[in-house]
């Protein structure tokens, strides 16, 4: 195995001089102010080590990466019954498409498109007030990363709530078909808040390490079964990058989930988890440099799940 720290340093140095960095998401005003020149990367190995390079201590909004954690939580709560309300297939459409919902009677294609994640949020409301459900999600992420300092950025949540008309549309549309148990604004409240969880690369890699380690968390606890960790990883590979999932699998070959804040969380089964962050996005809404960095990392370290 090549010298991982050296590889990370080299990648960070390379990314620092990239000029084509993509465009920072501007549809959430609070995110539009982020400095596009940042780049961070961190790896949490199953042996317990955490290596990093670049701006790996900078806090960013994890946005849709949080869907990995809410899905894990919801599967623990309602089990495979979840799959009656949300599918497991790639969407073949941009991440906020409402067309697919209409043709498939409001059952979202997978839990990583917005509509699917809103359904997942709805299941987490069972027996809880929104505030409690949000608290539970945050504590779960803190538990996974073994780090109580992780918080929700309420400015981002408020910004998203004030401008997230399309998500309001999706939620009300599903409600009209009976695929939400709670009021759309409650499910959306949970959704907007978990998307606003703020972490740095090291925390994020640690939080996602259970996927690479047969379901065991950074703190050594068994979070899910090895089979469930594999299955969540499979969903990340087929559905983790919206309309660019196929291309990501083709080029990188690591199960991963991106967010419009510019973060990507990947898992290398049996080896460790990796988190990258760079705010500029490509056309599919995934971090441009993040994807480039992971492509290089996978190639140099032989970390593609499709072989060396």
């Amino acid at each position: 195995m090549p010298d991982l720290q050296g590889v990370l340093d080299e990648i960070a140095a390379e990314m620092a001089v990239q000029t084509d960095r993509g465009a920072v998401a501007d549809y959430i005003p609070e995110l539009a102010t982020v400095d596009p020149n940042r780049f961070g990367i961190a790896v949490a190995l199953v042996d317990g080590r955490v290596l990093s390079a670049g701006d790996a201590q900078d806090i960013f909004s994890i946005q849709s990466i949080s869907k990995v954690f809410t899905l894990t939580l919801a599967l623990g709560k309602v089990g495979d019954g979840l799959w009656r309300r949300v599918g497991r297939e790639p969407s073949g459409n941009p991440f906020n498409s409402i067309v697919q919902l209409e043709y498939e009677a409001a059952v979202p294609r997978n839990p990583f498109i917005n509509a699917g994640a809103i359904v997942v949020a709805d299941t987490l409301l069972a027996g809880y007030q929104p505030r409690e459900a949000i608290g539970e999600i945050l504590r779960f992420v803190q538990f996974l990363a073994d780090d109580d300092s992780i918080v929700i950025d309420h400015m981002v949540a408020a910004s998203e709530r004030a401008t997230g008309f399309r998500n309001v549309a999706l939620a009300n549309y599903m409600k009209s078909f009976g695929n939400l148990d709670h009021a759309p604004e409650l499910a959306l409240g949970v959704y907007f808040h978990h998307c606003a969880i703020a972490m740095n690369c090291c925390q994020l890699a640690l939080a996602g390490r259970f996927l690479a380690d047969r379901g065991r968390s950074a703190g050594g606890h068994s979070v899910v079964s090895a089979e469930r960790a594999r299955r969540i990883s499979a969903l990340m590979l087929t559905c983790g990058h919206y309309d660019g999932s196929g291309d990501f699998a083709f080029r990188v070959g690591i199960p991963a989930k991106s967010g419009v804040g510019g973060g990507i969380l990947g898992t290398v089964p049996g080896v460790g988890s990796v988190a990258v962050w760079s705010p500029g996005l490509n056309r599919q809404g995934n971090s441009q440099l993040g994807m480039l960095a992971l492509e290089k990392l996978a190639r140099v370290m032989n970390w593609s799940v499709f072989g060396s």
Copy 2:
């Protein structure tokens, strides 16, 4: 590693007594007559061994599995330029959908849906008569499997040509957008013939072994680079089972490609390739018992690419 031969025998025995075997494809008359009670499985390991169980010597129509071989051949011929005419994303639609073509100006989503494979066939016609292109494909499959006895079942090709109105529609539709270089009936002729290649499980596993062995064929030749083998495997995982690709990745976790003849070809990177066959199909058009068998095989052998 558990005793592989024992595992295969056990799977074959289990499948023999399954009562819910799916439905044999009836839209190609020539395929509708196949005995639904057959089941075969074969594994071609990178160390050279071939193990099998059940009806692994029975010849069947590989149908869409052939798209793996034509894609490999086309990439060798035109390289990454192919991706200007066909995408790399899961389709999110049934395998013969024409809707996606209309919204995306006749660029098929990936090379494994019918429209994409017809484009691939069109590229293989460059500089050739249809008969020559078909011959080249057959010889390539023979070369991959190191077996000159593999043939095309011309009755199946004729049957498909006589009834394949939807494929004729797809080809003409793409031609109207300029995404076929040759006459639609020529590209379709190549397509119908390569789908009619007839093989048994052992031959099929051997033909696909290059995917698991860094691009090296059963006969020891380097067919493609290790990177291309990984990339083709990635496409199989994200797009190999039509509208059931996500579910297959979720449950089985092995890159694989299915055909309506009831075969499935899978690859376990660094370990070997596996071919299963059982004619009954599930609702997504994939072999019902084939998928069940691979699910069990992956679990028992720890062959999921998403971890043990």
Copy 3:
């Protein structure tokens, strides 16, 4: 010209004994309680006479018929600039489809589908509070019918607001594309209230008489130009019955607009307007007996715009 009163009486008698009366709309709880056995019909001739038969004095919820009045009001307010934000083409989709919006960047196909009417309501908010805009619409309808007793049924408006998730989805979706100037809930407030205007057949026929009389209202006032009256009539013919507009034109041949409350308002250019009401709906969401009655009326009176 046959004896019109006799024809109306005969139609009312025929409709009274019909057994297949369609299904009362149940998605708005407040409407679901209406007696399906009612049938009323009224004609307001341009010479000033009003003839009626059956339950023509019964008050019902005019629902989408109100879109004719808000369109007229909005054209008076913003003129042809309205057509930059809403189209003039039949939708080819059920009345609440969101698919069309997605493919056409949130410009609704015409002002009579729900999305289009919400845009029209949004234009009526310019410079007004919702309460004022609603008051203006009501006063306009009272003015058209020359009848101050017409009211809004606030129970129906509240019922629709509480359950109209799909309309909330449509409004938020258009807002996300920038095709609403005001907050979605404000435009929806106006929309839900004008749909809840309650009238009887005589009042409704009088309110719509301006369409048949070159733009002159029941009270003798010039409301719109003759050209605008023709154009609104054209929209009613091509778009007035959702996904059943073509069939209505084919069978009846009178420009008309229906509502899920079971009412239909039609216009016979140069002759007069006609209002029918029967709560049971056919598969396209149009009054079953209302359509039957108009088909007979048009045939007997030679009132089809497509010739005698």
Copy 4:
């Protein structure tokens, strides 16, 4: 009534100096060579007079206008049973859309979109060889116009057959769903030939006069019932101009059918029929000057069906 000949002359003079004339259809090579500066107009009154102006004696390809005649013929042959295989609703999509077919199981929305007209052509093949069916259509048009000199331009038919891949796609797609009784190429043969009927404005107006005269042809024969003439006119109004049908009804208000050759046939119930021709097309594929001319004619003559 204003002086009709004077009005026609004035319109022809106005159109002669128009500079924005649209674009001549170029997807059928044989049509692309037509001189864009031509403009002709003719009116066939129910009293027997025929008035014309401009290039009203120039022969042009009537293209989709022929669908009015084949629909009339098919209704005479199979009656209302036709409506089980083709709908009566506006399409809400461009004229050659295949999407609608997929979502509605290959039942075309109406007989005036290409798919619908191919189904109509298929019904005309019952009991006939293609050549005989084509002959029957031509003789029917000759009979309607009372003019044996009308012919089919076989160069245009051949040109369309050689390049009409999208129509081949539509036909094969419907065949795959069982909505064609004959081989796709036979139905297409009939379709391409009836689209290639060549006429001048005077002949075309005469051929369509039965629609305005309660079903009575130019030669005085009863072709269809008055009711059927009304119903065909209704279809022309709601579906006669592809995706621009609503706009045409809104602006012109005359039931009419256009063709990509630049012709439009309209009917003014009880008054007469009108044919215009100018080869340049607008964005929706309808004659740009033809529509303008009809808009003026309808306004000046008070010929809108929606009132004076």
